[in-house]
């Protein structure tokens, strides 16, 4: 009982800035940044609040940047058109602390799926224009982030290659049998 009381007295309420900093530091593209560097990134991000039923972005929109979910739930939905029929498939459901759209920090390729908020959602947006600006103003920090993006993409490529190899192996076995 006493310890709970002391803990609550000693505990400071997290400020909004601290919550945002923590959210940023959990994203792998910002993982090895110092507190000062994270603060600089925080100056570049946009805080947005979406209502239930809002789209953060829609499939086909030009990719512009990434989002980090502070609060709420986001469904990643892919629309497939086969003939006259339109089908929507929920690829994944993302929660607080997850992030989406980091590939768009590198190019303007159209979004491959839509991001749909299933409840009141708070996000932080970090965009390509600001990353380019950061590379220009603070090349050290900018290149750290770009290197982290490259690491994430490299990891994904490795997983994709592994899956492809497994699939090819499976197909080979199937044709042999």
């Amino acid at each position: 009982m006493t310890s709970v009381l002391w803990r609550s007295i000693g505990r400071k309420e997290k400020t909004r800035e601290e919550i945002m900093m923590e959210a940023l530091s959990n994203v792998n593209i910002f993982r090895n940044l110092s507190r000062k560097e994270l603060k600089e990134v925080l100056d570049l991000v946009y805080h947005r609040v979406y209502k239930k039923g809002d789209y953060i972005f829609k499939q086909g929109y030009p990719g512009n940047g990434m989002y980090i979910i502070l609060k709420g739930t986001v469904q990643i939905i892919q629309e497939k058109i086969e003939g006259d029929t339109k089908e929507e498939e929920i690829l994944v459901t993302l929660h607080s602390g997850d992030f989406l759209g980091e590939m768009s920090l590198l190019d303007e390729a159209p979004r491959s799926a839509s991001a749909y908020c299933t409840e009141l959602t708070e996000v932080l947006g970090f965009f390509r224009g600001d990353l380019m600006d950061l590379l220009n103003r603070n090349p050290e920090l900018g290149s750290k982030i770009v290197l982290n993006i490259a690491r994430v993409l490299g990891e994904r490529l490795r997983i994709t290659n592994q899956l492809l190899a497994e699939l090819q192996e499976k197909q080979k076995k199937e044709t042999e049998s």
Partner: protein, 358 residues
């Protein structure tokens, strides 16, 4: 009671008309502040990359912006301190060469005498020279008033100039906060689109204005080099080469009119100093400016300014008239960059907005 679609449309239309009428009524009163803000935006776009470069050396943004503004202020102060005596000298020389009271009256009187001697009767007996003297006298009386007006204009120009620097400083210092403040007002539906378009517009404008500035500088420097060579090789006696070069650079911002306007002071300088081979020197000076224009039109501007902001000659002509009407020579100089900004802005909106319609 809910409104029908038509009623809503009519209310919106009335609101829009009232708003537009109010804007048109207020616009003339806001001309100065709008001009100051437009020039500040132009300066911000031009200077932002320099502030970014300073930030690379870990200098805080505010200090970087202040340094850039102070450098600009020093450059202008230095330029004014060097140029004002030159302009004063040039003005004195010109007034000596074209002394209105003596030469004009003499020439007119001799023309009248010549005509009278050729005609059977003394046909022209008008008192033109006396009329001119009267005119000069009345002008002399008006001069104090004109000087007061010019003084007031100068004070206004100086205060506007400091406002421009002040606003530019805050644009440079708080660029990101201002951008975030604007974006915060945009609804979620148009958030990504607005951010993307704003970013593209800023990038295009920055390179366009820097290109224009560098092209004007290149015209100024090449004109100075050309005139210096003519002076050295042919002993042409062209005065105020640096001043003429700076003028040519600024004048180059005005398409079509600029190149000619840039060459006129150089030709006048040759005519005033009257070297032995005046005609040849005049032809050479024209050749220098033609070559400078050739370099600018075919090499410098296409490379630095690019084709993306190319404006149709008719549009250039119209914006020059509008700029000239609103702000005189300064308006003509800013007309094309402002038209370029408008073209880039609408071009980016038209190109990118449809990508966000699904």
């Amino acid at each position: 009671m809910s409104l029908t679609e038509n009623q809503r449309f009519i209310i919106r239309l009335i609101f829009f008309i009232v708003l537009a009428a109010g804007f048109i009524l207020i616009l003339p009163r806001l001309q100065t502040i709008i001009t100051v803000i437009v020039i500040s935006i132009l300066m911000f776009t031009l200077l932002d990359p320099f502030v970014d470069k300073l930030e690379r050396f870990k200098i805080p943004r505010a200090l970087s912006a202040l340094t850039v503004i102070l450098v600009i202020l020093l450059l202008i102060a230095f330029g004014v301190s060097r140029i004002v005596p030159l302009v004063e000298n040039a003005a004195q020389q010109i007034s000596q060469s074209f002394s209105v009271e003596n030469t004009l009256n003499d020439r007119i009187q001799s023309g009248i005498d010549f005509l009278n001697s050729k005609l059977p009767v003394s046909a022209i007996t008008t008192d033109i020279p006396e009329k001119i003297n009267e005119l000069i006298e009345s002008l002399k009386q008006k001069i104090p008033g004109l000087l007061m007006g010019a003084g007031k204009g100068l004070i206004n120009a100086f205060s506007s100039f400091f406002f421009v620097l002040f606003i530019t400083f805050f644009f440079l210092k708080d660029e990101r906060a201002i951008k975030r403040g604007i974006i915060r007002l945009v609804p979620n539906k148009h958030f990504e689109m607005s951010l993307n378009i704003m970013d593209k517009i800023q990038r295009q404008l920055s390179s366009y204005l820097q290109g224009l500035f560098l092209a004007a500088t290149s015209v100024g420097i090449t004109s100075i080099i050309g005139l210096f060579l003519v002076n050295t090789i042919f002993d042409a006696g062209i005065n105020y080469i640096v001043l003429i070069g700076i003028w040519a650079g600024f004048a180059n911002l005005i398409p079509y009119v600029g190149p000619t306007a840039g060459a006129i002071p150089a030709i006048l300088s040759v005519l005033m100093s009257q070297p032995p081979n005046t005609l040849l020197i005049v032809v050479l000076v024209i050749g220098v400016f033609a070559f400078v224009q050739f370099l600018d039109n075919n090499i410098v501007s296409p490379y630095l300014v690019g084709k993306s902001v190319e404006l149709h000659p008719l549009i250039v002509f119209i914006v020059l008239i509008i700029g000239g009407n609103l702000m005189g020579l300064l308006g003509m100089m800013f007309a094309v960059p402002v038209a370029g900004i408008i073209k880039v802005t609408f071009g980016e909106i038209i190109t990118n907005a449809p990508k966000y319609q699904t």
